[in-house]
């Protein structure tokens, strides 16, 4: 198929000029795009308000599809459950018995905990979520792993707040719109989270690899104490997350730590709770002295966007 003859300029000055103008405008568009790209790589939070408006528009649609997705998942799970109901029933009965025993033990531990805390005069302030929201979408075409939730600044969400599901950590709020916000998922290759082993105090950083797994890098190098199956929980360093929330389980060992699998997979989650920043005072302190910020303590030194956004927010207060 040849291009329509109207698109060949020939000797017509008018056609030649309009063709030239087209190239000129397209080139100018590319140049403007390159400039904006450089600006947003340098200052990732620069276009957050515009993106907030766009995600506010998309979020209500996403809420509908999220509800449909949840319904679909439970439907398929229900059908699958019929096939091995008998075997599963026996297994579950056994598991429930063990769980009852463990629950009784946990009650005892909780009671002891309360008693010890009382002795130390510590108050265990139960943190209430700022908002409970649906995961309404994600950046499925991009190399970045960001998700959208349908709660925003109207619901009191501010950048930096941790996002948890009932199983564990999902990520951290990066930008907020009025009724929606963007969440940096743990799997994003710019996400870094300070963690420790659940059973003792082996501390490490959990970094996203960009392929759905986390790289656990130990802070103290030497003999690698990790074992496959170890549970890593948040250490609370940096002040964003409360300590002791499940993050990932070690799946493979490496010389400097391990490769871990997420505990809370966002795709299997319908509702997430957005918690307040655990220790805002500590973060303010970290953000204030510009020169000597102890970088390893900051929960996400690589994520310049969120750090800048949180810093700005802390300074406003």
């Amino acid at each position: 198929m040849a291009p329509p003859s109207s698109r060949r300029s020939g000797f017509s000055k008018k056609a030649q000029y309009s063709l030239f103008t087209g190239y000129l405008l397209a080139g100018a568009g590319a140049a403007v795009g390159a400039g904006l790209l450089a600006l947003s790589l340098w200052q990732p939070a620069a276009f957050a308000p515009v993106r907030g408006v766009a995600s506010d528009v998309v979020a209500p649609v996403g809420a509908g599809t999220a509800a449909a997705r949840g319904g679909g998942q439970s439907l398929f799970a229900g059908i699958a459950a019929y096939f091995d109901a008998g075997r599963q029933n026996a297994e579950l009965r056994k598991e429930v018995e063990i769980a009852r025993i463990r629950l009784a033990e946990a009650d005892a531990v909780a009671a002891e905990n309360r008693r010890l805390k009382g002795l130390l005069a510590l108050s265990d302030g139960e943190t209430k979520p700022v908002a409970v929201a649906r995961l309404v979408g994600s950046t499925a075409t991009s190399g970045r792993r960001l998700a959208y939730v349908n709660a925003g600044s109207a619901g009191g969400v501010v950048p930096g707040m941790p996002v948890l599901s009932e199983r564990g950590v999902i990520g951290r709020v990066l930008e907020v719109g009025r009724i929606s916000s963007r969440v940096l998922l743990l799997t994003d290759s710019e996400s870094v989270l300070p963690v420790r082993r659940a059973t003792d105090n082996v501390i490490a950083f959990a970094e996203g690899r960009g392929d759905g797994l986390l790289r656990i890098r130990l802070v103290n190098l030497g003999v690698n104490p990790l074992k496959v199956g170890d549970m890593m929980v948040t250490s609370g360093a940096g002040g964003y997350y409360r300590p002791g929330v499940a993050v990932a389980a070690i799946a493979k060992l490496t010389p400097d730590g391990g490769i871990a699998r997420l505990v809370a997979e966002p795709a299997a989650t319908n509702f997430v709770s957005i918690l307040p920043v655990h220790q805002p005072a500590a973060i303010r302190e970290l953000a204030e002295p510009e020169g000597d910020v102890p970088a390893p303590l900051s929960p996400s030194p690589a994520s310049a966007a969120s750090a800048a956004a949180v810093g700005a927010q802390a300074r406003e207060e």
Binding site: G33, T141, G210
Partner: protein, 184 residues
């Protein structure tokens, strides 16, 4: 005449006498469909890896290939700006890359004016693959080998999806030009 053959005075765009295409439809359908295609992948939850190719970009390529001259040469910039707002890429990446893609197709078309479906598919595939790599490079994430590996299926899906999207665009073009307005 109509009693003999009801379709005697009509073609694929509908009845010819007393009818004309609706102007708003003629103008808006390409842009609306590309913007809709940009938004659609947002509704997928992709927590571990990028799942889908950039539908918006494939739609732009298909409109450009199926209907040369319909989109102006500079259309990549505004449509890319919209895509950047929802795609998660840093703002400006699609403005730059979509503009460059439009210029590249224009140059290719000037060089090889007689084109066919297979050549269109080849051109679109090469451009889609280049776009995939370029958009990963400018995504603002530190590029790891694992990331490249898990993102590779995007290229394959994009290449295989182009003919389907081109057919969809042809259907949308029939809808765009169908004679919906009655002239009294």
């Amino acid at each position: 005449m109509e009693r003999l053959d009801p379709r005697a005075r009509s073609d694929i765009y509908g009845r010819r006498i007393n009818r004309a295409p609706a102007p708003w439809r003629v103008m808006s359908v390409p842009y609306a469909s590309i913007m809709l295609a940009s938004v659609l992948p947002v509704l997928l939850i992709a927590d571990t890896m990028p799942l889908a190719p950039s539908f918006g970009f494939l739609m732009l390529l298909a409109w450009r290939m199926v209907r040369p001259g319909l989109l102006p040469l500079w259309a990549g910039a505004p449509l890319g700006a919209f895509d950047d707002l929802v795609s998660g890429q840093p703002f400006g990446s699609a403005i730059l890359l979509w503009s460059l893609a439009m210029i590249a197709i224009e140059r290719i078309e000037a060089r090889f004016p007689w084109r066919g479906f297979w050549q269109d598919w080849f051109t679109a595939s090469v451009i889609a693959a280049c776009y995939w790599l370029a958009s990963l490079l400018v995504s603002g994430a530190s590029l790891t080998p694992e990331m490249l590996l898990v993102a590779a299926p995007q290229v394959l899906i994009g290449v295989l999806l182009y003919p389907i999207i081109a057919r969809m665009v042809a259907g949308l073009d029939r809808f765009r030009l169908s004679r919906a307005r009655t002239i009294d």
